[in-house]
Homo-oligomer: 372 residues x 4
């Protein structure tokens, strides 16, 4: 059994030399019917591990029997990947205007609620899905055709979203700064948390802030809720979207990438994408928090920091998080001081540089977490 | 008659060496009672002309008779001013995370509507203002005391807003990239457009997007509307806030700065801040648009551009806006092509570099403008 | 009479996505024999006006009768052109390591002197030129084949130099920050100063600092000197190279570009590259300095600056060059102060931002200049 | 026994707000006579571990008995430390012009040779040293007083060098990108390699490229050589200077810093700076290379890289150094390929980002190394 890979390139931007910048699109279509899966990586240019994960996915899926179709888009931001500032990659935002590359996807809540009114008690789930996809796709087309134009990040986002809009399962592969593996999961798809081999899960509400996962699940979730309100009809569209954080930015690791690929295959298998595949989720401890309990610890001082608490480690209230060097007091007791955990927590990621200004996101941490 | 200047410095951040970064605060208090005025400049680090305007304001106000108090904070973003990237100043956003320095001010609409319910039909305007100011100031204090901390831009913004919150008139001095002078005016204070000597006026609705002018007028406008709804009582608090765009970034000009100072003094005089001052608004042509008619023209191509239409110039539909060089076709008729105005318009500003990627904000323009 | 343009692209680098970055190469070969000319532009990414000049050159040369061959390489640095940092182009140096894009060309003085020893009293000029070109080309090939590899800027430079090495006349088109037109001329080719329509000329000695013009003329000049020393034989190879500074960076202007093209055609015509062409140098005032008298004025303070003296303007000792704003003293007489010219001078260029740290190159100026 | 610490601050620059930027200077003077030691850290802003080392040195030296004086300057580049570009520190070069912060120190070989002629056969070593120090100090003063000013990096460097010029032992604390500990040692002070606890030693010749260590030892080495040539007199001034690379940039580690401090104390003790101190160099394997055998491996391709060979690890010719991902061939055998060691080597450092353009310094490696 070998699944063919069809490869194309799509132009998503032009650089200042007027040259086209494109993304590679790998499509793997199974012989059997089934769901559509969309996986992209590196929308933030420095978050490169997902590209290795997609490499392993493609290599392994070639020998598998796919039900439906899997679309994989590695290195989906050819501009962000190539903005160097010093030795690192300035990949999280457009260097011209600061726009986060992951905030320009499309969602129009009013339009969804308006669409919901066209749904009848009798219309089949498949019928609704088909009509709604056409509606969404059309809305994105209209947005892209905006006569006065659109910003670079938004153009890029919408061109990618146009591919994701037909998918049942959307995975957006990211990395944290210095980070343990974690995943963002819409609350209504909470059960899927156990299908990935990812130890830290964040459950997010039906709120749109511009990211691809939200742009994927908010419409379906909103539609579902509106139909319930309008018709007292309970429907489930089984469309899911996740942001997977595959460890730390600026680093690739082929071995880890293969493990990450297994985690994703385990999810896809559970969702019926793989025929006669025996990859199952690992038995492991998974911890979950609601988004409101996923806290960011900002500094109100500037200085140089040793990150004592490592991502993934359990820290009790009062235990040391960081040790801070004070350049102007190296001869006194204030030369070094300790920052303590304000409550029981698990650091998920920390800032990647020892040098911080006041107002820096030092750590993001789980508080009030529960085992799933 | 000489008005004393009291100068202080306020710490707004710490840098990575742990050193305090502060802003200068100049306070000029008149012998007579009157309104409070707050003027700041350079929240965007490359937009420096406002600093010269404040220089001229201080020098001239020293010899004037002030009613009330004027607080002037030049160079109000000591971090943004000092982020060089090449020869220019990367001043619009935090280089660490892309956060626009002018989007972290505070406004809580629900809290304002809640406050409005405490207002009675009998409470005096002054009484309401005093209570509401205390409410706002307290809310900012609470925000600043957030136990998990705040981002750098937000910390900076809130510390500045804490000074602005007691003002009746707030002026935030900015620059465009390559720009003619223009001003953002809340629709309810439309009459004030004629008090400045600024030819291009943009009227903005009661919508908050994080900027200082909005953070100043949205609470008062919302309060006013809520009181009308709740009590059918028409009140006017006479609190106004403006973003003044003083020409182009990266440039200072002392002569122009003095003219700009006259424009501001003319407004302040009309508002009763100056005693026996004869500075009046100039007779001039002023054009206005609603925000929805202030259009941004994005490119959908990358290349090199000559900006043919200059800021402030009237352009008819079909007339040339820009000429674009195509590096890979210098030998053909496609080597250069012209971009035409999609409708009658006035360019207010254009991008400051000839080299543009696709999705660049080429021009911002007035359409459907009217003479005031 | 129409001269054909043969267009090719040459790969000069790969970006972080692994994609080739290439430069366009336009070759125009005349029916008649004659010299070889090499013209490139934008090795510094923000210095874009030369691209427009090349556009006009190609369009006009198409209708001319060329003797020899002209090779034109616009936008010769596809990496530098595309490094945005804020709205501007970080084009002067590699953002990874700070390497100036115009300092990695090749010159080995010892090898030239060694080569000189192989020249006999009888060898024809053409014979020497041919052998020396082969020698230089071979040396560049060897350098490019360095088994441990080379830095990005050096790889780019050498690939371009490999094209320039066969040329008799090499023009490298640059821009200053905010700048009047000026040109760097090797002292031995001083007479050519009057062949361009450029008002400010800098005469440079036989010293190599890595730039293309030096890398072109230093070998020939050194060879000529060595032959004189070794054989007491006076030879002239008539190889010339210039860096032309076509006004200010970050800006293109099609009309100015056509005037610049005329200036270059006037030089080429004088050098026998154009058949029956009547373009002659303009009668104009041309001022020249030796490199040692082309001074850089650094600040020893930081602050905000109005550049009062404009590029090209005559300034007497003691006249104002700049006015400086002092943010922390806006209420005193120190709020603004004037920087005076330390001697009679002509500013050629100034820093393009009002905001300067201490140690900034405020102005570059002509001192002890003479009319040519 | 407690040694007092005298702390001062020295202004080294002004920022664009016109505010002074200063460095802390800690002086520890012993009761007994002895040599002068100068230690600085973080001239490259992202190389912060040396600051922690200085912290431990000061804390430990407080309880020691010093012979002579130790001057410690942590965070010696307050500009470089504070240039953020994304989350990292753009610390190796001036963001305005690309100037490496460690290339503007002063050395004038001709002046040293000229000075050497004033030395007589009879003059005492101490007499020569004293006169030469005055000469050097004077030359730096003259340079700093240059009437047209100096660039920012050079001003900073010279102000620091003015303190180092009187020292017998100069230690400049740096970090590599991702790096094992290593040290640059002038060939004439080769014996000192065994006094530090640093496993990798690079022996450098008497060549000046602008760094502090070179600027310190080149004058003394040149003077020594000139006196030998002129007078056939063998002198030894016992002035030594080293660049110590304390692991990886962007990271501080207090425990490692204490170990590094012990290494430096071991050197200082051997040089007679510490009275009755029992800190001795550790017995350990130390490897040395000549600078010519310390190779940089550049890529000639761009892509994404896993650094398989870790700093400090022995790698045989043909063993894998790196694995490279090829984004556009994830479906073929070219999706990943291996880069092999071109010869036996030890990687000392590698590039800190997985994303590399062609011409990137992938690894710096020891070849032809020997055990000391």
């Amino acid at each position: 059994m070998t699944t063919q890979v069809v490869k194309k390139h799509m132009v998503v931007a032009q650089n200042a030399s007027g040259r086209n910048m494109n993304v590679p699109i790998y499509r793997m279509k199974g012989a059997r019917p089934g769901p559509t899966v969309y996986i992209q990586s590196s929308i933030h240019g420095a978050e490169v591990q997902g590209n290795v994960v997609i490499y392993h996915l493609i290599q392994r899926l070639k020998d598998m029997d796919i039900c439906g179709e899997i679309i994989l888009v590695p290195n989906c931001n050819p501009i962000g990947t190539n903005i160097k500032a010093g030795e690192y990659t300035l990949g999280r935002f457009d260097p011209v205007n600061g726009t986060n590359w992951n905030r320009g996807y499309f969602f129009d809540k009013d339009a969804v609620e308006h669409f919901a009114k066209t749904v009848t008690r009798e219309e089949s789930i498949e019928g609704i899905k088909q009509r709604f996809r056409a509606h969404l796709s059309n809305a994105i087309d209209n947005k892209l055709a905006e006569p006065w134009g659109l910003g670079l990040a938004q153009q890029l986002n919408l061109k990618l979203q146009q591919m994701a809009v037909n998918a049942d399962f959307v995975l957006d592969l990211h990395n944290g700064p210095v980070s343990t593996r974690h995943v963002y999961i819409p609350e209504y798809a909470k059960d899927s948390a156990k299908l990935f081999n990812i130890p830290h899960c964040i459950f997010i509400p039906n709120v749109f802030a511009g990211a691809l996962d939200e742009a994927t699940f908010c419409p379906w979730w909103t539609l579902q809720e509106s139909i319930k309100t309008n018709l007292a009809r309970e429907v489930s569209f089984n469309v899911e979207a996740f942001t997977l954080e595959m460890g730390s930015q600026e680093v690739i690791d082929f071995n880890e990438g293969n493990i990450d690929a297994t985690s994703i295959l385990s999810y896809l298998n559970a969702k019926g994408v793989l025929h006669e595949c025996d990859i199952k989720p690992t038995e492991m401890k998974r911890l979950g928090v609601y988004l409101k309990d996923y806290k960011t610890l900002f500094t109100n001082w500037g200085g140089m920091v040793e990150y004592m608490a490592k991502p993934g480690q359990t820290v009790k209230k009062g235990e040391p998080l960081a040790q801070i060097l004070n350049i102007d007091d190296l001869d006194t007791d204030n030369g070094s001081r300790t920052l303590e955990a304000p409550c029981d927590l698990i650091p998920i990621l920390h800032f990647p540089s020892a040098s911080v200004l006041s107002g820096t996101q030092l750590y993001k941490v789980f508080t009030n977490y529960k085992e799933l």
